[in-house]
Structure formats: C-alpha cells, structure tokens
C-alpha cells in the first residue's frame, strides 16, 4: 500500500474539527479523485498526506513511513523524496527561471535526470520558455511547469490540489490531459483534489468528503 | 557716552552724586576719611596738591573769554579726585580715581569732553611743586599756581591758554572752612578768581585767539552734603567795577542753604551767611529732557546787589557720566558783568 490514511483527525486552530476519523488508501499506480464541498477538508487531507502539516489523531503511512512521529525535518525530507505536489497557484519559485523551476525538485531530491527533464519540457511545450521567469507565463503555462517539476522527480505519488482551478476550460483540459498521461506513463499514483465531477470521473476511483468523513 | 551704569555709580555715587543729590549714606560718618575742621592752617604750595585722605577734591577752572572775532566764549577745565579708600598705593592698586571734564562754550554751541583714570599709574594726578594737574594729555601746569598754562582737547575742540594771577588767593566761609548745610557739613574751599587769560581756542571752524578772565576753585571734603540736599546752584560773577561774587544755593527738603563771598578788587573777602542772598529762577530752558533755569534774579541786599543773570548759551549741558549744567552767564541790573553758573540736580 502506497498511502494509507487511517482514522485521521484534524481540527483548525480554535478547535473546529475538519476531519474526523478519515480513512483512505491508495495503491501504487492508482488514481483517486477526492471531491467535496468548499471547506469540506479535502485540501486539508491532501496537505496532511503530503506531510505539509501535522494531524491530531490517527495515522498516515506513506510508502511504509508513518508520518505522525516525524518532526519538521523528517516531514521536509519526506516531501523532498517521496511526493510531488501541484497546487492551484503560486507553485513556482518566482526568482528562478522556468528551467530552474523544472529541475528544482529533482535536484533537491538528488534525482535529476537531464534527459527526462528535457523530454518533459518538450512534451509540456515548455522548451522555448526555459529562460523565462514565471511572472511572464500564462496561468496554463505556469501549471504545466508545475506538473513538469513534479514529474521530473519520477514520483511514486503525485498530490494535486485543484491544479486547473484557476484556468479556463481549454487550458484546463490541456493541463489535465498532460498530467493524466504522464501519471499513467510513469506509473505514479495520483491523489487529486477537485470539485469538478467531470474531472473526477476521469480517475480510477472517487472519494467524497463531507462532514469530516469519507462518504 | 554709553550705558556704563556700573561705572557711573562707581565713580560718582559716593562723593559727587551725594553732593548733588543728597545721598543718604554720607550724612554722618566718613568711613575713616578725614573731615574738614575749622581753623585749618592752609600751607602752600602743599595744599594745591591732592589730599588722598579726603573723599572728594577738585581743581575747577572756568573762564569768560572774548575772541579776536569779538564774540564771547567760555571754557571749563576740571579735575575731580575721588577716593575709594583714604589711602594711596602704587600702580593699579591705588584706590584713587580721577575724572576730567573740559568744555568750550560759544554763543551757539557747547562742546565738552570727559576723561577717567586710575590713580597710582601716573595717567592722572596733581603735583604741588612745581604745580601740575593732569589727566591724559590735559594739563594745568605752572611753575606755581600764579602762572599756569592750560590745555585740553576733545573730538571737536581743543584749547591752549596761559593764565596769570593778578591778585591773591581768596578763602571762602570761615578762612577757607565753608559750611554747606545747617547741620554743619563743610568743605575746605579757596579760589583764585584773578586770572588773566590769553590763548587760542581750536574749534571746528578754526583757531580763535582769545583773552579774558579766569576763576579757579579748589575744594576738598569727605562729607559735603546734608541728607536732604538734592542739588545746587553755584554762581561766580565778575562785575565790571572790579568786585566779584561767589554765591551758592544748596536746595534741600528742609529749605535752601545759601552762602556767598563778596570779593573786593584787592582780594579782601566778606563772607555772607546763610539767607543773605536770594536766588529766583525767572525762566527755564528745556535741556536734555529737563527744565533748567537759565535766567535768574539774584539779590544780595547787604551789598545792594539786584541783578538778572542770564545764560549765554542756554544748552550748556554737560552730558557726562554725571550730568549737570555749566556755562558762562551775563549779569545786568544793579551791577553788570560776566561769570559762570553751575547747576546740578535738575
């Protein structure tokens, strides 16, 4: 089992519970869409799975590593090595060029594969944009760079939170297609948070989050 | 001059200001200074020199002159000595202070100058024999007091005059003991009123040769005024018939105190006691912000004197540190002549 979420609880500061006893599993190569209303806690769950934040109860195991005993440093190492992330916005490091952004995560994880990176840039239509800075790219282009950067690590698990949420329909479809095909190609597992049923329908499984539970 | 308030007080407060304005502190005690006594035996030339153990002393010369141009002139040359302590010392340590006043009065204008000096360093002083009184470049110098040359200068005037005495010294009051108030304050006081004068006045318009008559007063004391006395009017008159008159009035809260000396051409004196003479202002002139009597009715019934005395130049104001009026006068009435008038305390 690649990702095992077991009875996880999480409250916002102030005590309002967001997640109560959420359990979920994801196997290698599987894709899972996590849907739910705004504020249902789907992004929170994804962030917990990505070792970005700590949780109050239960356990999450990622590729055999239990997350709850990890400190800041352990979680950072896990993010570096075991997951890739694509967010809705501000994925990129503004001070680095597209090229530098693309390879940043892979280099950080010591897994840079220049051939693969070049192939990714080509396939994502970024080859001509490598020396540009993120602020000079369109939203679709920025998200493609984010996907490229995520896939450059050849991750076992890709976590994506509304990756097309800020894009128009065409760009959105384009980005989603690219992401799904790359995931399929590399055998990565995908946990995708979305509010769109259309998008959710394109994935292997779906889970719906409401009232702090998976329903 | 300037607002040297401190210095004004310094030099004048004790002797002269009190003389004129009745400074209360001097009414009685003389703070270790000698005081004049009756029956003093004058000794000359010694007594022409300074008396440092007395608080105040002066050599006071005035002259009525006529120029080659036919105009009348008056001159004043005065050296005051004032002692802070009844002693003398060398250099800056001397407690003696000196002040010189000089003036030339023309029918239109009054020029004056003032000099100040410490004793002890030689800048000012008086030597009895041979006689010399000086402050800065001003001097009254003789072989003796019968023959003196006189010099003074200011920014606008200068004069050089030769004086020759034509008569004896004249002693006022009781043989030189001159009483100044009903309480008995007194000074030593003698004069040489018989100087014949000739010389040159140097005025802004040029030199004027002059001749005329001069009158020297010598006076020293330590406690000259009564506490209520506020000022005085002093007359020295030379009549055309050869007689001369010294008369003064000390104005006081308890009434005036007057005294006079009638001087015959041969120098014989007749002292006239308090009340003999009367002085009535007839007219005043606005000078330096004050009303100063410049026309007087003076009578001395004992001598049949009934005259009108008028200032030649009404604004003969001495705007020195201690201010007063001093200038030539003309006499008309029962007697005619010329003279000098000094008025303080206005």
């Amino acid at each position: 089992m690649l990702l095992n979420i077991d009875k996880v609880q999480k409250s916002y500061p102030g005590g309002r519970p967001v997640l109560r006893d959420v359990s979920l599993t994801l196997d290698h190569g599987q894709t899972l869409a996590l849907t739910g209303e705004s504020g249902s806690g789907k992004s929170t769950l994804l962030n917990l799975a990505a070792a970005l934040d700590s949780f109050d109860g239960g356990e999450i195991t990622l590729d055999g590593t239990a997350l709850s005993p990890l400190d800041d440093r352990g979680r950072a190492a896990l993010r570096r090595q075991s997951v890739s992330l694509v967010f809705q916005q501000f994925n990129l490091i503004p001070s680095l060029t597209v090229g530098q952004n693309l390879s940043f995560h892979a280099r950080l994880a010591n897994r840079e594969d220049t051939g693969w990176s070049a192939q990714l840039a080509e396939r994502l239509g970024l080859a001509d944009l490598l020396t540009r800075y993120p602020e000079n790219l369109s939203g679709g282009q920025q998200q493609r760079v984010a996907i490229g950067r995520a896939m450059a690590v050849r991750p076992k698990l890709l976590l994506a939170d509304e990756p097309t949420g800020n894009l128009d329909e065409t760009a959105s479809a384009n980005v989603l297609d690219l992401m799904l095909s790359l995931v399929a190609e590399t055998g990565a597992a995908l946990l995708l948070v979305t509010h769109s049923q259309d998008i959710a329908a394109r994935l292997d499984r779906q889970a719906h989050l409401a009232g702090g539970h998976i329903v | 001059m300037n607002a040297r308030v401190w210095l004004v007080v310094l030099i004048l407060l004790q002797p002269i200001a009190s003389w004129a304005q009745g400074y209360a502190g001097l009414g009685g005690s003389a703070d270790g200074f000698d005081v004049p006594k009756r029956d003093y035996q004058f000794e000359f030339p010694r007594d022409h020199g300074p008396h440092p153990t007395y608080r105040i002393e002066w050599w006071y010369l005035t002259a009525n002159l006529t120029g080659e141009d036919g105009r009348d002139y008056g001159i004043q040359w005065t050296l005051f000595r004032s002692a802070l302590k009844p002693s003398e010392a060398d250099g800056w340590q001397s407690p003696q202070l000196w002040m010189g006043h000089a003036a030339v009065t023309t029918p239109e204008t009054h020029y004056f100058a003032e000099r100040l000096s410490r004793g002890g360093i030689g800048q000012a002083g008086v030597a009895a024999d041979p006689f010399e009184a000086w402050i800065d470049e001003w001097y009254m110098r003789g072989p003796d007091l019968n023959t003196v040359s006189l010099s003074a200068s200011g920014a606008e005037f200068a004069y050089d005059l030769d004086l020759t005495a034509q008569g004896p010294l004249v002693f006022h009051g009781d043989a030189g003991y001159s009483v100044k108030s009903a309480d008995g304050q007194a000074s030593y006081y003698y004069s040489q009123p018989f100087f014949e004068v000739e010389g040159v006045l140097n005025l802004p318009d040029g030199d004027v040769a002059v001749t005329g008559h001069g009158w020297l007063d010598r006076e020293w004391s330590s406690q000259p005024l009564a506490s209520d006395q506020t000022g005085w009017d002093w007359f020295s008159l030379s009549f055309d018939d050869g007689d001369k008159l010294m008369a003064f009035r000390l104005r006081g809260g308890r009434g005036d105190f007057t005294a006079a000396t009638w001087i015959s051409p041969d120098g014989t004196t007749t002292p006239l006691p308090n009340g003999s003479a009367s002085f009535t202002p007839l007219n005043t002139t606005r000078v330096a912000g004050r009303d100063v009597p410049t026309e007087w009715h003076v009578t001395l019934p004992d001598r049949g004197l009934d005259v009108e005395v008028s200032a030649m130049t009404p604004d003969a104001w001495m705007a020195t540190q201690f201010e007063y009026w001093e200038g030539p006068v003309t006499v008309k009435g029962s007697h005619t002549g010329r003279g000098y008038l000094e008025m303080t305390g206005y």
């Binding site: 994925n91 940043f104 | 310094l10």
Partner: protein, 804 residues
C-alpha cells in the same frame, strides 16, 4: 465624507502598527541626529557670540607689542599723548587642576562691558569700591565659581551668568596679582573717539602693532571648519534616516493601492486623495519630527560636553557644556522633518497620483528593472566623476565637501548595479539548487533592499574613512610628538629674571638648555608666531621637516633663512625658496617647512639672533632641558624646590605627551559617536526594509518549503541572505571608505586645519567593522527570520489555495 476618507486612510496604520512605528522612528532618527548636530553647532556659536558680546570683543582696534607685553608706563605715555586707549591683561592660570582664562580690564577706562553691566543690574550687585580695591572681586559663572570655591587664597567671587564659561573677569589690578604679571598689559583697546590733534601712532609707538577689529582672531572663524565637519556628519545621518522613511512610505502606499482604488471608484477625486495623504504625511512628519527633537535634544546634551572640551582644548574657544532649547532650532528641526519626509515620499506620492483607476492592486513587479538600474548607474558614475573633478579643480573646504558628497552619493547610486552584477556571477557559479535559489532570491529582493544597503554603504564608508583618517592622524601625531618633544624637561619661569637664574643654575648640570622664545606677529593669513632657536642637535636631528632645501638648518642658524610650519606654507602657498616677510624690515628666504599639528595658527623659526633683532623684548621664560632621562624626575623636583615653581612650571616630557594625546583623543570622541550612531541607523534601515518586504516574502518561500525545506532551514537562509548582502556591501564600502579617507586627509584636512597627513591602512579595524556589520545585518534579519521559524504551515499553505 472627509471623515470617512480619513477613517479609511488611518485604518491602514491601525492595522500596520509596526509600519507606523517604523515610519515615525525613521523620521525621528533623521531629525534627531541632524538636530543634535545643529543644536551643538548653534550652542557653540551662541557661546562664542555670547562671550564676544559679553566681553565686547572684536569691536575695537587693538595695539599689541609683537615682542611681548606692554608696560604700564607705556600705556600712560600713550594716554598722556592723548590716545584714548584702555588696558587689558589676560592669560591662563591654573587653579585647582583646571586652566581658566583670566581677563583683567581697567574697569575705569574700559568701554562698555555687557558682562559688567548685567552684573551690576543683578539683584545683588557687587560694591564698586570692592571691585577696584584689594583684594578685589572675581566675576565667574556659577559653575566655575563652584569649582573655585575651595580656593581660599583667591579674592571673593561674584557669581554672574553674564560671564563666558571658564573665564574670570576682573579688574586689571586683581589680574596682575592673579597672573603674577605686575605692571604688564597684554593689549590696549583703542577707543572709538579720539581727541583732536593726537600724534600718529607710527611716530610715538612705532614698535606697537595696530590690529584692526576685523582682523582679530575670531573664534568663530577659527572653529568654522570644525563645525562644518559636524554639519556634514549630521547631514549624512539625516540622509541615512531618510532611507528608512522612503522604504516605509513606499510600502504603505503600495499596500493602500487597493483601498485607494476602491475610494476612487466610490467617487473620491484623486486630487482630494493626494491632498489628504499630503496632510497625513505632514502630520506624521510633525509627530516624528517632534520625537526627533526630543531625541536630538538629549543626544546633543550627551555629546556637547565632549564637543565643548574639544573646542576649548583645540582652539581655546569658550563653550558652555549645557544645551539650551532654542525655538529657531526646534523650528528648523521640524522643517527638516517635513522636508525630509516629503523628499522621501515624493516619488511614491507622485506615482500614486498617476495611478490609473483600474490598475491592479496586485504585487508589483519585483524583478529589478534593468533600465532603472542602468539609469542610476549612469547618474552615480556622473556624480563620482563630478566629485573628483570639483576636488581637483576648486579650492576650499566647501569644494572638498562637495567632492566627498558627490563621490558618496554617486557610489550609493551605483551600488545596486554592482550588487546585481555580483549576485548574477554567484548565481551562475552556484551548484546546488538551494544555493542557486538563494542567490536568485537575493537578486530579486535587491530593489526593495537597495535603499537600506545604500544607507549601509554610506555608514560603512564613513566609518572606514573617518576611522582611517583619525587613526592615521593619531599615528602621525604620536610620531610627530616623539620628534618634536625631545627635551626631557620643560621649564617655565615666572619672569626673565628668574629665567636667567634658572639657566645659570642648570648650566653645569645638564646637557643643554634650549630657550623657547616667541613673539606674535601678524601675517596676511592671520597671526604668526615667530620662534627663536639655538644651534643644537635636538633641532638638527629631530625637527620634523616635510620639505627643505639644502643645508636648511645651517642657513637658518646663520641668520640667512627661516623655517615655517605647514599651516602657513599651505595657507600662504609659501615653500622652500620663497620669501617670508616678518615685518617691514625683515624678509627671509624660506629654507624648509615642518609639520606642526594641534595648533591652528601659522609659525616660523629663525635663529635666536634674528629673533632678538626683530623683537628685542621677547621674553626668555621657557626652556627645554636636555638631560639623561633617568635624571629628569630628580632634576624636576630640585628645580621646583629651589625656585619655588609649581608642578605646571616644570613638566616632564612624558606628561606633555600624555596631555597632548588626551586633547587629541578628546577631539574625535564626537566623530566616533556619530559614526556609531550612523551605523546603527543603517542597521535599522535594513530591518525596516526587511519588514517591508515581509508581505512579499510568503509566495517566495512557500513553494520552496513545500518542496522539502524546513522552516528552520528557511529561517537560517533569511539570516544568511541579509548577512551576505551586508557583506557584499561592506566589501564595496572598503574602497569607497579609503577614497573618503584620502579625501579627508589630503583635501578636507588641508583646507580645515592646514596640514596634510600621510594615510595609513588599518586592516584589523576593517575586520572588526566587517564583523560588526555582519552582526548588525544578522540582528536586523533576526526578527523576520524568527517569523519564518514560527510560521504556522497553514499560513504557508494558504498561498497555494484560492481562498486567500
């Protein structure tokens, strides 16, 4: 409506209290440092003016005897020739371990002395006859009176506020006893009204020298350069403070763009908004300015005693150690605060007024615009070039400061360009992704930080420059003291007679007796002190000549030539081979120029025979005694015992050196204090800039954090970034500081003091300053770094979600 707008505008400050505090502190610091310097200058100038007024100095021409003092008989002779002159005897006297100036005037003839008049008009005026007769009275300030109280042998003291500090005013009769100079007069004041027909002074007193009132040595003129120095420092501090204001106002405006856009959309005219923001800035400037005045007042109060000590020590200028609040000063300070605030916010205000109504409120492009940088580089280069051009072509102290100002401003403007250049090189060389990001990120942050870094550059350069100048000066000065103070003992006799006796007694016991005699002459450049020397190896071997012709000493000692000090040489542009006119009869060839520090006036040296020819009356009271060093102490005591001399009258070499060095060190206490303050302000500027950049920081670090860096790592990188930028700036500040030091030593000093100093380098000091800079940068970045460390992940995550 106005109220609603005001409320909307002010709500910004309520939400950003730290920003408000920063802005006010910035204004207050700028105003405070500037005002402190102004207050010190004003107080010192007021002191000179007061002293000069109180003593009626510079109103009258004076007569002096170049060869020494005037005898009282001489004074009387002039008086008796008709000249209206008045006598003054003055000199220093050491009482209870403190040197005070005694001014004795002939109270009877001296013209109006405001000090006396005021004293007389006081509540308890002294009795005039007490003033003039023994023991006399001494007029002194309350402070000095307190110091003199215990001295029972002194005449009674009359306390007066109308007397300058450190001066005893008294009658000349008292002064001659106090100074032990009976029947001597220092100078005669020529009164304005002279009688008719006085003989010309040239006939009756050809030996006395008439000095015009306007030509008299004026304390104010003498100390002008010192005050200009202080002013320059004050201006530098002010500029550094303005960097803070500029940064904060820029941020506040940027953050309020959205609100302003909303207000405009609601129908508020731009004109009205600009007007109201102007009013708001005015209010802030006034509050900050008022705080600055308070700060400046206390700062000036703290610094003034040292300044006063310096001015007294270096120039003998009387300065009160007490600061008093003057309305002009407060107004000027507020004016500077207002002017400075608008200068610093003008650009932001202008941009705001030009903002189209529909411009996005988003984060402005933060990548440095290369064209703007190039423009400021060009301006900066032009300023540096202009600065050097002025320095080389125009004479004068102001030109010197213009040069330094041009170079400093220019250097500040080219700084961002150089930093960008350096950072690109580092980025290209960086291997690891994190390193690459750090360099790239620093480059991105540069525009926001460049003003603060400019401030740091200026502060560092000033520190290095002034430090190098002071240290070079000190090193030179110590070496010069060693050369110049070769005699083991220095003896001052009471008068010529005692001088003769001392010389006679010492003759057989010592290696050499070197008389030190001088007279004061005047030269077109100011007073000129002429010294006579005897032939001795002490001079030949040790005298510090900086320029000389062949066999200079031989020619001087055979009466053919003269040596002059550097001050005179530079002021009058006289060098070996030129002629120096000492007076109407004496003109000599200049054989050499010697360095002469610590005295502002011109000096010349001739043989003793020449001195006697020029000024026969010169005193022979001072001697340098050559004796084996181990005998010096014993001999000094023997001299004191035998001739009843005070400790001050027989001084050993070491004591003179120590005293000279103490005065020297005192001179630069204020400079150092201002230096440290400027550096502190620069550090604060970095802090405010970092805080300003904070809001733009999250989108920069959130992705990096998400990709696997811990917050602790990020916090460390925050510190490192600040330290690295400061280090880069410091590296660039070093050459700038050295250029500044060179300018101070070779241009400013020559103009201000009349001497040029060799430059020495002090790498240890630089290292120390470098460490201090890094520390300051680390401290400045500590707060933002701590924030990163404590940042809740939720805040970082919010960056990525849309609900921001």
């Amino acid at each position: 409506m106005t109220f609603a707008i005001v409320q909307a505008l002010l709500s910004h400050w309520r939400r950003h209290r730290l920003q408000l505090a920063t802005l006010l502190i910035g204004i207050a610091l700028a105003t405070g440092l500037w005002s402190a310097v102004q207050a010190i200058n004003a107080e010192a100038r007021a002191s000179y003016q007061r002293a000069s007024d109180q003593l009626a100095l510079g109103l009258y021409d004076t007569l002096r005897d170049p060869s020494g003092t005037i005898a009282v008989d001489r004074y009387v002779a002039l008086r008796r020739a008709g000249w209206q002159v008045s006598a003054v005897l003055e000199g220093p006297v050491r009482i209870a371990g403190r040197t005070v100036q005694v001014m004795g005037v002939d109270m009877v003839t001296y013209p109006a002395l405001p000090a006396m008049t005021q004293t007389e008009q006081s509540d308890a005026p002294p009795d005039p006859s007490d003033m003039l007769t023994a023991p006399g009275r001494l007029l002194a300030t309350p402070e000095l009176a307190e110091h003199l109280k215990s001295q029972t042998e002194l005449p009674p003291i009359v306390v007066s506020d109308a007397v300058p500090p450190d001066l005893i005013l008294t009658d000349i009769g008292v002064a001659e006893t106090l100074l032990n100079r009976p029947r001597q007069i220092s100078r005669l004041v020529i009164l304005p009204d002279q009688p008719r027909g006085v003989p010309a002074l040239s006939e009756i007193a050809p030996d006395l020298q008439r000095v015009e009132a306007s030509a008299q040595l004026d304390t104010q003129r003498l100390t002008d350069s010192f005050h200009l120095n202080l002013t320059a420092f004050g201006l530098l501090s002010f500029a550094v403070g303005l960097f803070i204001v500029n940064g904060t106002v820029g941020l506040a405006f940027a953050q309020r763009r959205a609100m302003i856009r909303t207000l405009r959309a609601l129908g508020v005219s731009m004109r009205r908004l600009v007007w109201m923001i102007t009013a708001e800035l005015t209010l802030l400037a006034l509050i900050g300015g008022a705080l600055g005045l308070v700060l400046g007042f206390f700062l000036a109060g703290a610094l003034l005693p040292d300044v006063a000590a310096t001015l007294r020590g270096l120039y003998g200028a009387p300065v009160d150690g007490q600061i008093s609040l003057q309305p002009e000063w407060a107004l000027a300070g507020l004016g500077m605060a207002l002017g400075g605030t608008f200068l610093a916010s003008g650009h932001a205000l202008f941009r705001l007024s030009r903002m189209p109504i529909l411009t996005g409120a988003g984060v402005q492009s933060w990548r440095s615009s290369t064209s703007g940088q190039r423009f400021s580089f060009l301006i900066g280069t032009a300023l540096i070039t202009g600065g050097f051009a002025i320095g080389y072509t125009v004479e004068g102290l102001v030109a010197g400061f213009a040069m330094v100002g041009g170079i400093l401003t220019g250097a500040a403007l080219v700084l961002p360009y150089f930093l960008t250049l350096a950072l690109s090189v580092f980025q290209r060389r960086a291997r690891g992704p994190v390193a690459q990001w750090v360099w790239a990120d620093m480059q991105a942050q540069l525009p926001g930080l460049s003003l603060a870094l400019m401030a740091l550059l200026l502060a560092l350069a000033a520190n290095i420059g002034v430090g190098t100048m002071v240290s070079s000066f000190r090193l030179t000065f110590v070496g010069w003291l060693d050369q110049r103070l070769t005699s083991e003992l220095y003896v001052t006799a009471r008068d010529d007679q005692q001088g003769k006796e001392i010389a006679q007694w010492l003759g057989p016991q010592v290696d050499a007796i070197l008389p030190i005699r001088n007279v004061e002459l005047t030269h077109e450049t100011g007073p000129l002190f002429l010294y006579g020397v005897v032939d001795h190896e002490t001079y030949r071997d040790h005298w510090p000549l900086i320029a000389s012709s062949d066999s200079a000493w031989d020619r001087v000692l055979t009466d053919q030539a003269v040596l002059i000090n550097e001050q005179l040489a530079r002021r009058a542009d006289l060098w070996p081979g030129d002629m120096l006119t000492l007076n109407a009869e004496h003109t000599l060839t200049i054989a050499g120029v010697y360095s002469d520090y610590g005295n502002p006036t011109g000096q010349a040296i001739v043989s003793m025979q020449q001195l006697d020819l020029i000024a026969p009356g010169a005193e022979t009271r001072q001697f340098g005694i050559r004796v084996s060093p181990e005998r010096a102490t014993e001999l000094a005591q023997a001299l004191r015992d035998r001739f009843d001399l005070s400790r001050q009258a027989v001084v050993q070499q070491a004591a003179v050196k120590a005293q000279s060095l103490a005065i020297f060190d005192n001179t630069f206490v204020v400079t150092s204090a201002l230096n440290v303050l400027t550096l502190g302000v620069a550090g604060f500027a970095i802090l405010t800039s970092l805080l300003t950049l904070w809001t733009q920081r999250l989108p920069q670090i959130a992705p990096v954090w998400a990709l696997g860096l811990t917050r602790a790592q990020l916090a460390r990188l925050e510190l490192l970034r600040s330290v690295l930028l400061a280090a880069l700036t410091a590296v660039l500040a070093l050459p700038l500081g050295l250029v500044l030091a060179w300018a101070l030593l070779a241009v400013i000093n020559v103009q201000a003091f009349g001497w040029r100093l060799p430059m020495f380098l002090f790498p240890v000091d630089w290292a120390y300053l470098f460490v201090l800079t890094l520390l300051a940068a680390a401290v400045a970045a500590a707060l933002p770094a701590l924030r990163v460390l404590r940042l809740p992940p939720a805040d970082l995550l919010r960056v990525f979600a849309n609900e921001r």
